[in-house]
Each structure stands twice: as structure tokens, then as C-alpha cells.
Amino acid sequence: MTSPIRMLEADPGLACDPADPSCAVPGVAGEYADDLLVGIYRSARTVAMVGASPNPMRPSYFVMKYLQRKGYRVIPVNPVAVGQAILGEPVVADLRDITEPVDVVDVFRRPDAVPGIVDAAIAIGAKVVWMQLGIRNDIAAVTAEAAGLTVVQDRCMKIEYGRLSGELAWSGINGDRITSKRQALLG
């Protein structure tokens, strides 16, 4: 399978040329094929959310709430919040503490925390590592892909679902999706 991330010839470790302004812009058409993302959403059932926060004003809470409403099981992972529940789900300390199959590991942590998360994702047999908006670690991405995982970087699981389902356009957001089909890709 070819990598969903555009590789630069000069430096295979860099997924994206930092000097290319389009690369700094999440949601640019073409970096991740719609089919790839639709495939992830259609096949996934369980999402482990690393860095999930019990604060209802944090972005992770928004995403968890949204994914739950779309029918996904979301397991919050956050050593600082163990003993609490977020949106009805008990928080676990570590990905390795999860006893059921995990499809997607959704990362709300700083880029330097990603390598450890990728190692754990590989160990528990997750199929996808998804780094949220603003989070990129190209070295860890290569590690995950080499182990057969699909990697998405610098994208929001809520926003991409909204784009592919057409819901994002309800807020006047341009997802560059044009279609004369009645059925949206998701939803």
C-alpha cells in the first residue's frame, strides 16, 4: 500500500515541506484521499483517545462527544484523570490497559509524546494512529506505517467526519467537496 502522506524525495522523514504554505493548512484537498478517511470511519468501532480531558471546554471533549453521537465507542486514556469518567466512559491510564480491540488511537498529546503512543498502539494491535489538528511527528508516523498501521496527522477526527458527511458545510466551511450524488460519503 502506498503511503497516504505525500513524501518529499529529498527527505523521506519529512511528510510535508514546511515551506509549502498549503502544507500548513489542515483540510487541503489531496493530502489524504477521501477514500482513505472514509475507509477508516466505516471500519472503525472503537477509538482510544489519548489525552482525553474531563474539561467540557477542551477540544478532546468536543471530539469525544461528537464521535459518541456518531455511534463510536470512545475510551479515554489519561493517567492524570484515572478514577474519573468522561462522557460515561471510565478513564484508563495507558493504552496497554485496554482489554478490548482498539481500531483507532486518536492522539491529543504534544508531538514529542507521539513515539511512545505509537509503540503502545502497535503493541495493542490498533489499526490506525490519528494525530489531531496541529500534531505531527513524521518519524513516529514512519514507525507506525512500517508496522502496517495507517497514519493520519494534523487532522481532527470530528472535522474530517463533518467534511465527508457534508455537516461541516452547515457552518459555511469549505471542504472542497463537489458532488451531484444524493448520498454523502458518510452519515
Binding site: G27, P56, A169, I178
Partner: protein, 449 residues
């Protein structure tokens, strides 16, 4: 008034050709395709192919939890048409696409768009730098009404880098210009303004009304926010008021503490941090969820529908507007009763080189010219035309004409009129889509009288 129609400045440095347009956002589709399709997939429930007019105020919640998630902005969906409406949303997504932007908020008029944009970016006590060459109503809004909200401005020449730089203060939070000005047709040096704005880390906000996204896309030159009065070319048929604010998605609102409304928890939205939560459309969400919600200038769904229909033919219309404007400008330039013509498409216009760069497909169709016969000749011309409509608007399929000195600028002194580019001899026209020969014949009979 001198017979120099073109707002002159001193020696201008040559354009810096190292600054070239960059697509703000790559699209898979051409601008004609997007003018028709962007934002308007078939309506899923009925299959209606065109966007229905959702003449509706409110939307039923699935359950209490759904209602709570909507109010908390955790789920996308409709609540109340002051904030979002399905027909208006289709228009917003379409204009965002045409400008190469990330998101847009449509509002009731162009003036409301300016208010919503400024309100989202400025705190009381903040400062803005604006172009001196703006639509007269915008000059009034910026220099009289905005200061009453605590926003002080300095007006500058948008072609003069030294003047722009000198006007920026530590409290300056945005730079505002029209890409192609109404009515003087001054073409701003967008690349220069974007460079200065970037150096000071403030957004460049561009009113692109007179050019439309067909002739100029300010994001490609580094602008951060684009505004339109959709009342003009976007709607295009003189039917509907409307305005829109478009966000490029490239400005980092959290780089410093200057845009606390976007970078810090917002007390007007129970502690939500808009930029962090919504990323590259944080500005759009804030403009909608706070400015539109609390100031209230919602666009009517029926107006949105008419503007959507207008946009479908925008690329075709702009091409013909430009062709007719060029024909009329050349005719006028050769007429003995005409002292000067200020159309940047003419080779001797001071903005000609910038127009060739920023508006390569044509410098729009709104411009001014001067009559050798002064005030009286102006009154005679607007009364003598039969096909041209004497009224205060631009950007219609119909050709429009006005003599500012006897109408919009009547209350001013001679000096004030001259400074505003509305001297006694000045006529403003908006060239429409009629047969060019008919437009010229009508002007000819009225000028020769």
C-alpha cells in the same frame, strides 16, 4: 478641482516581481464549476437538485443531549436562523470556495460584514489602519461609527508603503483596504500590504466587492480575511442585499496575545477557546457564534437564494462587464466633452500596472470620468440618459450612472467633495451587460444633448 482624476501619489517604487500569487487552497475544480456547484450538493431528503429556500427560523432537536451538544458547538447542526440556516450555509460555502478560503459567514449587507469582521478582531481601545480610498459609506462607518465602539483608525494610501508602515501602532490589530476601490478605481498593492501586515503579525482584511473573486483573489496575495458586499456583483442582478466575511485559515491567532477573543477562553461562550477548538476556521466560528449571534445582522434565506443563483453566472458576467466597461471607457476617453477617464484598464491610468498584476482579466466595470462642463454638465448627463439608470448602486446587470456632487456627496463643501473624489465634474458609472453599442449610443445622445 484640478483635472487630475487619479488620486496621485509621488514616485512609486516598481512592483516587486518576486512576490507572485500562491493558490491559497488548492481545489480539484475550476472556478466556473465551483460557481455552480460549491456548497450545493443535492438536498438529501427530497433529492431537490438546486438549493431549496429554507424559509425557516428554527430546527427541531433529536433529544435533550443533541440540543445541548448543538448549543455547546460540539455537534454541527442548525438551531436558529440568526446563526445558521441551510440556504445561507450553501452560499457561505460557495463564496469560501470561490475565494479559496476555509470558511465564511454571510450577513445582511456589506456594512454588516465589515462590522462583524472588525468586532471579531478588535477590542475597545484597539486601532486599525484603513485605506483612504474606500466606498464613501465605508469611510463613514470606519471614521464615525467604529470610533464610538472604541476602535480608532488611521486612513492611508494603500499604495504607499512608507505611509502604511508609519500608521501602524502597538495597538493596531488589522489592515483594511478595497482591492479595487469604489469609485476611484485605485488598485491597492496587495502583496506589499500583505508583507507589511505579516511583518507586524496583523491580518490584512480586503474588501473584494468591486473585483469579485473572478477578477481578483486576495488570499493568493497573502490577505487573511476577505469581505464582500454581495449586493453588488456576486448577486449581480440588483435584487438582494447581502454581505460575507471569508477566512483564509492561514493566520495564527494564537501566536501572541493580541487576539484574545480567539486565543483565550471566551467568556461570551462559556470559556470556549475558538482558535484552539476549531483550528483554521476558528475565526469563522467566532464571527458566527458571537458576533452574528449578538449583533444580529442575519441574512434572509430568500436573499441567499437569489445571490446563489447570481453566482452561478458570475464568471460569464464578469467577463462581459469588463468587455463592456473597456468599450465605454475608450469611447469616453475620445469624447471632447469628457476631460478625463479614470479606468485602470486604460494604459495611462496610474493603477494600470497594478491592475495588470492583481486583476489580469480586467479592472472591473465601475469607474469615474470628468466632464469639461462641470456641475451643470453632470446634471444634464444623468438627466439626459434614457437606457442608463440614475441611481446609487453598482454591480447590476443594468448600467448605472450617478453624479455624486448632486446626490451622495451633496452635503459636503466643494473641498470635501474634491478630496473624496466626488468633485463637481465627476460622474460614476457601473457598466452593465446590455449591448455595448446601445450603452455608447445613449451616452452619446446625452453628452451631445
Amino acid at each position: 478641482m484640478s483635472d487630475t482624476p487619479q488620486p496621485g501619489i509621488g514616485e512609486q517604487p516598481p512592483l516587486d516581481s518576486s512576490e507572485t500569487p500562491e493558490p491559497a487552497r488548492r481545489s480539484r475544480y475550476g472556478i466556473e464549476t465551483r460557481s455552480i456547484h460549491a456548497g450545493s450538493p443535492p438536498e438529501p431528503v427530497t433529492g431537490a437538485r438546486n438549493v431549496p429556500i429554507f424559509q425557516t427560523t428554527a430546527y427541531v432537536f433529536e433529544d435533550a443531549d443533541h440540543a445541548a451538544s448543538l448549543f455547546d458547538l460540539q455537534t454541527f447542526g442548525y438551531i436558529y436562523s440568526r446563526i445558521t440556516n441551510p440556504t445561507v450555509a450553501a452560499l457561505e460555502a460557495r463564496v469560501a470556495s470561490l475565494e479559496g478560503g476555509r470558511g465564511a459567514v454571510a450577513v445582511a449587507s456589506g456594512h454588516a460584514a465589515q462590522l462583524v469582521a472588525f468586532y471579531t478582531l478588535l477590542e475597545p481601545g484597539d486601532h486599525f489602519v484603513g485605506s483612504r480610498f474606500l466606498y464613501g459609506g465605508s469611510l463613514t462607518q470606519l471614521s464615525h461609527t467604529f470610533p464610538r465602539l472604541g476602535w480608532q483608525g488611521t486612513l492611508v494610501d494603500p499604495r504607499d508603503e512608507a505611509e502604511v508602515r508609519a500608521a501602524i501602532t502597538p495597538r493596531t490589530r488589522l489592515l483594511f483596504t478595497e482591492s479595487l476601490s469604489n469609485p476611484a478605481a485605485v488598485v491597492a498593492d496587495l502583496a506589499m500590504l500583505a508583507r507589511v501586515a505579516r511583518e507586524h503579525h496583523i491580518p490584512l482584511v480586503v474588501d473584494n466587492t468591486m473585483a469579485s473573486p473572478i477578477l481578483c483573489r486576495p488570499f493568493e496575495w497573502g490577505a487573511d480575511i476577505v469581505i464582500h458586499s454581495m449586493t453588488k456583483f456576486l448577486g449581480g442582478h440588483g435584487t438582494s442585499m447581502g454581505g460575507v466575511v471569508v477566512e483564509s485559515g492561514r493566520f495564527d491567532w494564537s501566536a501572541d496575545d493580541r487576539y484574545p477573543g480567539l486565543s483565550r477562553p471566551d467568556p461570551a461562550y462559556h470559556g470556549l477557546t475558538f482558535h484552539e477548538t476549531f483550528g483554521d476556521f476558528g475565526f469563522t466560528m467566532k464571527a458566527r457564534a458571537v458576533a452574528l449571534r449578538d449583533l444580529g445582522p442575519a441574512l434572509s434565506p430568500t436573499n441567499a437564494f437569489h445571490i446563489l443563483t447570481g453566482i452561478e453566472t458570475l464568471p460569464l458576467r464578469m467577463e462581459r462587464h469588463v468587455r463592456n466597461a473597456e468599450a465605454v471607457a475608450r469611447y469616453l476617453a475620445a469624447h471632447p466633452a469628457v476631460a478625463w477617464v479614470s479606468y485602470p484598464g486604460l494604459e495611462d491610468h496610474e493603477s494600470h500596472a497594478r491592475a495588470a498584476r492583481y486583476l489580469p482579466d480586467g479592472a472591473g466595470s465601475v469607474f469615474t470620468f470628468g466632464l469639461t462642463g462641470g456641475y451643470e454638465a453632470g446634471v444634464r448627463l444623468v438627466e439626459g440618459v434614457e437606457l442608463w439608470s440614475h441611481l446609487a448602486n453598482v454591480g447590476d446587470t443594468r448600467s448605472l450612472i450617478i453624479h455624486p456632487a448632486s446626490t451622495t456627496h451633496r452635503q459636503l463643501t466643494d473641498e470635501q467633495r474634491t478630496a473624496a473624489g466626488a468633485g463637481n465634474d465627476v460622474i460614476r458609472i457601473s457598466v452593465g451587460l446590455e449591448t455595448a453599442a446601445d450603452l455608447i449610443a445613449d451616452l452619446d445622445q446625452a453628452l451631445t444633448g
